[in-house]
Assembly symmetry: none
Homo-oligomer: 204 residues x 4
């Protein structure tokens, strides 16, 4: 069984002086990603990351002062800059949103997300980072809802942010309870929007 330290083919990185070495950073993030993919979150230990990345533990702690910080960095590094597109009608748009995130959460990078939520329950740093991320995504969703509202798709006094929050809550709930692979995004969007959407042509 080859050990993690058998990866000595490439020459070890040297210091590049009194500056942060981007090679080292990349090696660390790559190593961390690989470890999570191979062994799950339990395999993501500072020790193992340092060894696989051929980096010193002090170097790790210098930039990512805790395991949680590394986790968040990892997620940020691997998530795309996806902006959800408006497909014309809100149910279709939200179905597209669910479809996209459920898909992403099933990729290696996306599989980190529930773990980050989990970690956030007992780690302040991660909780903060998660909160930021959520706000960002929420703004994105709220914009989509508002646009539909402007088009007259929704009941008159809809609070677009509350609805966006609800849409996101539904996605997270399905994630946390392991149902993202078995739920139909279109049905889910339909159910969540049922009460809010006016019948076609009924706009004031």
């Amino acid at each position: 069984m080859p050990s993690d330290t058998d990866r000595c083919a490439q020459p070890q990185r040297r210091s590049i002086g009194a500056r942060r070495n981007p090679e080292t950073e990349a090696a660390i993030l790559t190593a961390a990603q690989e470890l999570v993919e191979e062994k799950g979150l339990r395999g993501l230990t500072m020790e193992a990351v340092a060894k696989r990345a051929r980096a010193g533990k002090a170097t790790l702690y210098k930039w990512w002062p805790s395991r949680g910080a590394l986790l968040v960095a990892l997620y940020h590094a691997s998530k795309g800059e996806h902006r959800h597109t408006d497909l014309g009608s809100l149910p279709e748009t939200i179905a597209g949103f669910y479809s996209y995130v459920f898909g992403f959460w099933q990729t290696p990078a996306g599989r980190l997300f529930p773990l980050i939520i989990a970690e956030a329950q007992s780690n302040e740093d991660v909780a903060d980072a998660l909160q930021d991320y959520r706000q960002e995504r929420l703004a994105d969703l709220t914009a989509l809802v508002s646009r539909a509202q402007a088009r007259g798709e929704l009941v008159a006094d809809t609070d677009s942010e509350a609805l966006a929050d609800l849409i996101m809550a539904n996605a997270w709930m399905h994630l946390m309870t392991g149902r993202i692979a078995v739920t139909d995004p279109a049905k889910l969007a339909h159910d969540v929007l049922r009460g809010w959407c006016l019948p076609d042509g009924s706009s004031a």
Copy 2:
């Protein structure tokens, strides 16, 4: 100087034969609960629980093979058998529901819940236990929604289980993102139900 072996000041619990000793079980759950209350969740280590309960570690692992299993047992032992009451109108009922669960989740016992959800993300057993618990609560909620539907409070084709799921998702979302202490349950219930509730007296 007390010797290293001056144990057994108070009489220790004895075996009751080749059967599980309920005294021991109680002592362990009590010790675990105390530890969580005193030192938070980081203080809930198998080691500490065993020491405080004056129980052997092997005994702990025999009945609760993991920290997660202990967590779930703890939660089950301390949660009441609360059944949410129908307050006549759905918004009020759901406001009461949110009010109750947000309150409970801020008690020492309730604070275990987000940790259980977190644990479930990487622990099959806990995930299963959580799933069972969720189904139970969902049925409870669904019944409340159905009753309101029968009263004609909701739009005609409401899927009561989907709505119940949504209501619960909203609660969980607020829990996972640390907003249960700052959110008004009535406002939350109002927002979540906005689209589904018919205006008073508008039932067919």
Copy 3:
């Protein structure tokens, strides 16, 4: 991998009333012997013996109150009642003695002996049992030496017990230092007796 508890083919032994069950005793000694042969002394735990013998731990402790006691019983049960024979001349007799014991110490039963000596260093009970055994064997050897002395084979003022002790010490030394398989018994006997044996025909 079959566990020790797969041996449920035969019906378990029952009590035969208020008397010691010889079947049980035999099963325990057999199980103990097998465990030592299969896994070495480290495998001889009270727990494992009880399990393999399908006996209760209390039964074990009733008759053999310690691991050391079991070890000694085991050795006594398996050693033969060998009496070393006088082959006419002392060097030959002692060569025969070395040959026999070195052979025996290489059988499964004999391999227990160094372990008993080892155990005796930190276990009073075993030390006592070992002492008794040594005295027994020493008397045997002393008799052989005395007979040779009577035949005039030895220097006049030989202390036969001291010489017997020396002969035995040499055997034990070879055992403890792992040389019984590589030493020629005849050469050993010759060396140990070199000083004491008179040349042939030189007897007074």
Copy 4:
């Protein structure tokens, strides 16, 4: 009530970089020695040594992978570099040898020796270390015997190494059977050499 985390009253030892810290090694050996002196050999557990030395258990296991290894190190650290002196005649010299070793084996450090022999019966590493030690001591003894032989004290064809082995075997035998405190070294030396020593003035 002192918190569970009020550690570090006295300053702990720090790392000295990626090299073995001699302070730590010394602290561990000292702690081990003290434990043996205070509580006997049963008190020499890795756990207790680590705790008393304020060392991590991992550090212990890194340098001394087993209790046996620690035992050997302890013995080597505490035995002096004694060279047995030639007192002019072999019986006197050997009497001195027995006297010295029996004395040493009754000191705290010396009491480790039978345990090392015991450990060697089931631990390869210890067996090797013991073998080396025995060879060293045997060479020492053989030299003494050879000198006596050169002086014409011994029968002509004496195998000095075989005799030295015998002398040592006798010492070990007395050690293993708990007789070092009750045996007269001079008598023992006399008995062991009886056959080999020529009467005074009888050398060829």
